[in-house]
């Protein structure tokens, strides 16, 4: 595929070989020795923005596949391999979560993932360092998902600057309500980072409208427990922006249903995190995660 250097275009690299499904624990050496997948020399290509990605998918009448992983679970090296893998099997956007000691909005799977990651000592600096190596090789954009505390503690400007530096294109801060997000939004805009906001099926219309207006890239519709079957209708009416649905999406049936109901994207977190993080070894985890991702993607229209 042609590259237009200096502009942002999606680069589709050749599919990753199965060499990543190795049986011994991953080490840097294995990457360097070329036993595993080739990592092209670092040409800083940049990637499409989240909005651009969705625009392209809409033209192709495709539904976006958006996996989520926790950075550092089971450890950062596996995360970098997982990112490459998910990109290679055709993910359209990848969400990367920053572990935090107070994940009030996450269920038990991701809570455990955060605990495992924090136990390895992973922090924002380490995550950014990893991304600086990996992002140039990815064809799909990365969205960072972090609670507000780690962003605040690192320093809002510093955090956004680091994201910009490593080429992350989107940011989600799930515990920051729209009312409190002005400063972050302003700064993110200056760094061309798109900020994605959440709404739920039970959120009042007016509020969904406000949230949709502010949300960049896509509108994140959280599938809360009460909302099954999910009615995408009302949130959809409030905006022309793409609507991606997440929380509890774990089986092909969910993917099929959501696509049928008109979702522009499906977000899959726990189902992949669990397979990756709770496996007996990182390589087992990568294998299981990739298999499940492909299984889900096969259900997309």
């Amino acid at each position: 595929m042609a590259l237009a250097v200096g502009t942002f275009h999606c680069v589709h690299l050749p599919p990753r070989s199965r060499a990543l499904a190795i049986t011994s624990p991953l080490s840097r050496d294995q990457f360097d020795r070329g036993d595993s997948v080739v990592i092209p020399p670092a040409i800083s290509l940049g990637c499409a923005s989240i909005s651009e990605t969705f625009t392209k998918l809409k033209e192709q009448r495709k539904v976006a596949f958006i996996p989520y992983l926790t950075a550092g679970d089971p450890e950062l090296l596996t995360t970098s391999a997982a990112l490459r893998m998910l990109d290679a099997c055709g993910s359209d956007v990848i969400e990367l979560g920053v572990p935090h000691w107070n994940p009030v909005m996450d269920g038990p799977v991701i809570q455990r993932a955060f605990e495992r990651a924090l136990a390895t000592g992973v922090d924002v600096d380490a995550i950014m360092a990893m991304l600086s190596e990996v992002v140039p090789e990815l064809s799909c954009p990365i969205t960072v998902l972090s609670y507000f505390h780690p962003v605040l503690e690192y320093g809002v400007s510093k955090f956004l600057a680091a994201m910009n530096e490593v080429g992350a294109r989107g940011l989600i801060v799930p515990d920051l309500p729209l009312e409190e997000a002005e400063i972050l939004r302003k700064e993110a805009k200056t760094k061309k980072i798109e900020m994605v906001f959440h709404t739920t099926p039970s959120t009042q219309k007016g509020r969904t409208r406000e949230i949709a207006k502010a949300s960049e890239g896509f509108l994140y519709l959280v599938k809360t427990r009460q909302s099954s079957p999910l009615n995408i209708g009302p949130p959809r009416q409030e905006t022309d922006k793409p609507v991606a649905v997440g929380f509890g999406v774990s089986e092909p049936e969910h993917v099929r249903q959501l696509s049928a109901w008109g979702a522009d994207g499906v977000i899959v977190g726990s189902a992949l995190v669990q397979r990756l993080g709770e496996a007996v070894s990182p390589s087992e985890g990568l294998r299981a995660m990739e298999a499940h991702a492909r299984f889900l993607m096969a259900a997309l229209p």
């Binding site: 107070n102 009030v104 605990e115 922090d123 609670y147 505390h149 515990d175 959120t203 809360t224 427990r225």
Partner: protein, 360 residues
Amino acid sequence: MHALSELEDAFRSLSKDANFQEELDGILKDYVGRETPLYFAERLSEHYKRPNGEGPLIYLKRGPQPHWSLLAKRLGKKRIIAETGAGQHGVATATVCARLGLECIIYMGAQDMERQSLNSLQVRAVHSGTATLKDATSEAIRDWVTNVETTHYILGSVAGPHPYPMMVRDFHAVIGKETRKQAMEKWGGKPDVLVACVGGGSNAMGLFHEFVDDPHVRLIGVEAAGFGLDSGKHAATLTKGDVGVLHGAMSYLLQDDDGQIIEPILSVLGILDYPGVGPEHSFLKDIRRAEYYSITDHEALEAFKRLSQLEGIIPALETSHALAFLEVLCPTLADGARVVLNCSGRGDKDVQTAIKHLKI
């Protein structure tokens, strides 16, 4: 967020609802037992008299904590959840739910449960994180967000996401309102200094709120310094904390250099153990409207003993932190300065602990 906006709207409209206020006043009077006494502690004041006979006058605002489960009933929710650390808030919530005939589920950290025995409550053990109050609160928040249509969350302090800090403060503000009235009746004026212990901060906010706009009334909050501020085992969030976000509120938190929360453990007394503090206290500190100090376990235990011996009142160990601060405060006060100290809760529950540590 939706759950929070709904709650805030309900709270605001009920605050203006005369029927609700009347019912609430009725419960406070007949069930909780308010208006509570403002007691002149003569012997304690005597203890602080200087050789020349001058000294401040100490008043104790006593009585049970106000409670606010009535809101749940009005919201039409049949299921109540709450978090608890040492158990007090859990018990308080469960008793009121019994009165209102509502289902009640209490979240408690598994670690905290080992230290307490609350067999009479339907307690859900929380094993995530460090299995303490912070995790119980997180789990309660998750439950509420998932079940908001049927459930009301009674947060135990002026912490958590808006509108909780405001609501819990407003429900506790009866303490300050009564104090103003009683001060006027007793000496025709206002207090000069208010002193209260600070864990999450509801107690203190309840006393302070009424007087925030009275600049000549000094507001003093006292936290637990546990084994001492340099020991690493304390809960002096406002003194030693940094700004962070916990449970939806931006406030001071005890954090290490990596921005990880430090659990406030464990003071011998293991109390006042919310790892953050209500955001309004953080604000009052930042604008220098209120002052915050801390007191060690040892000092608190001495104060517990002192009040029991001088006045025959056994204070709660939490309150003992505020009482201990009088040792530092009183020598600096003008003659006749009137100090009101929030003495809510009872010390009966703490007698065994105190005896053990005082080696009486």
